[in-house]
């Protein structure tokens, strides 16, 4: 009896991407975002760039949602490719922002943000006041 395809993998295939390698990477990242990070994930595909990407929704993101680009840790990027990608898939033209999801060989996924423009660092967190005799829980 032929084994049924995973529904998530099937859904990703239906987007239109034919590359098995890209599908495998996207599948792993999807699982990490939806099952481990507990985000609401929407799958999308850009035909011109032949790339699957996800829009994840969660309270931890400043705008409520974030664009994730699944990539292998063995891949190479360039500034021109990143700019093309941002212009193609980001709706926010003022400082488009994408999050690269690098899938490692041990199946772990690391996330790094790239935003167009010069963005200052986050301000330092304010000091936590402790009551006398109380241990800090941080």
């Amino acid at each position: 009896m032929p084994k049924e395809k995973d529904p998530i993998l099937k859904k990703l295939q239906e987007l239109g991407c034919n590359s098995q390698f890209k599908l495998a990477i996207a599948y792993q990242v999807y699982l990490d975002l939806s099952e481990v990070r507990k985000l609401q994930v929407e799958s999308r595909y850009n035909k011109e760039l032949d790339i699957i990407y996800f829009v994840g929704k969660g309270d931890e993101f400043p705008n409520g949602s974030e664009i994730f680009i699944p990539l292998s840790s063995a891949s190479f990027l360039s500034m021109s490719w990143i700019e093309t990608l941002q212009q193609a898939i980001c709706q926010d033209r003022e400082g488009p922002r994408i999050t690269m999801a690098f899938k490692e060989q041990d199946s772990s996924v690391m996330y790094y943000c790239m935003t167009t423009g010069i963005i200052p660092p986050d301000p330092p967190s304010p000091p936590i006041l402790k009551k006398p005799g109380q241990l800090s829980t941080e």
Partner: protein
Amino acid sequence: MIKVTVTDEGIPMVWNSEDWIKLRNEYRILGNLCGSLPDVSSQEQFHGLPLVLLPYEATLLREKKIARLVRYPSLARAPGKGVREEYEKYCQRICDGQLTTLVKKQRQSDINERSKDVEETEDNSELLKVTKRTRKRRKDSGDCSHSSLLNLAIEKFGEEELKEFMPLASSLCVQTFTTYPWLRKEDACSVKWRYPSTSAENLTFNVFKDFWEKGYYISSGHKFGAHFIVYPGDPFVYSAHFLVICIERNAAIRPSDVAVLCRLGDTMNKSVVLACETNDKITYQTLKCSVLSK
């Protein structure tokens, strides 16, 4: 216009303290002080003039007509007769000034001692009367200096004693110059400045110029593995906000490089910015660790 001296090795330097202050305060050029401060013991920590400019700083100053890059071939030659005579006259003035001061001090201390332990001898009483008269006259006329006292003492005790106070030449204070004091305008020769010459240098310079025009203070970022470290204000007052890396538009970036840069920025509490040139315009990408990675 500020003059920036370029050495034979092609290193631009500023030797004048007023020029250094002007470059820092008015034009946000930081450079690197590489000299030693004579009064400071920790000479590896606190540096003084000269200020060494980085090549892109010198190019910017030249382009904006703030400074002129010059060299002084005359400094490589032995000084001529005129300069040597001028120098000897200067040394003599310094020597005479110090001797006069030494003699005045010594004489004053002698006179003070003698006036305290005095027995009414004929010489001393004469001296005391004279000095009192002189003091009163000087006080009435408003001149309370001791020069009359000195002259009087020298007249009394003779010029011979003056020679006893002639100090050794090796014990005189000698001024060391931080700039050559006998340079003339016509000694400055223009320099053939060739930075930037390669595409990488062009990119570095254009990124530097772009940040400078935006009003930032920029310093070399080699200690942090970056091209520049960028401050929103004077580094004496503000911490840096950005580590800037200049990268060609089509150069390959590995995911491991992205990971390293993001972790570096996170540790240092600075934003890592990748800068490249697109259609004669500088574009930037700021890297940060995602909230999901923390």
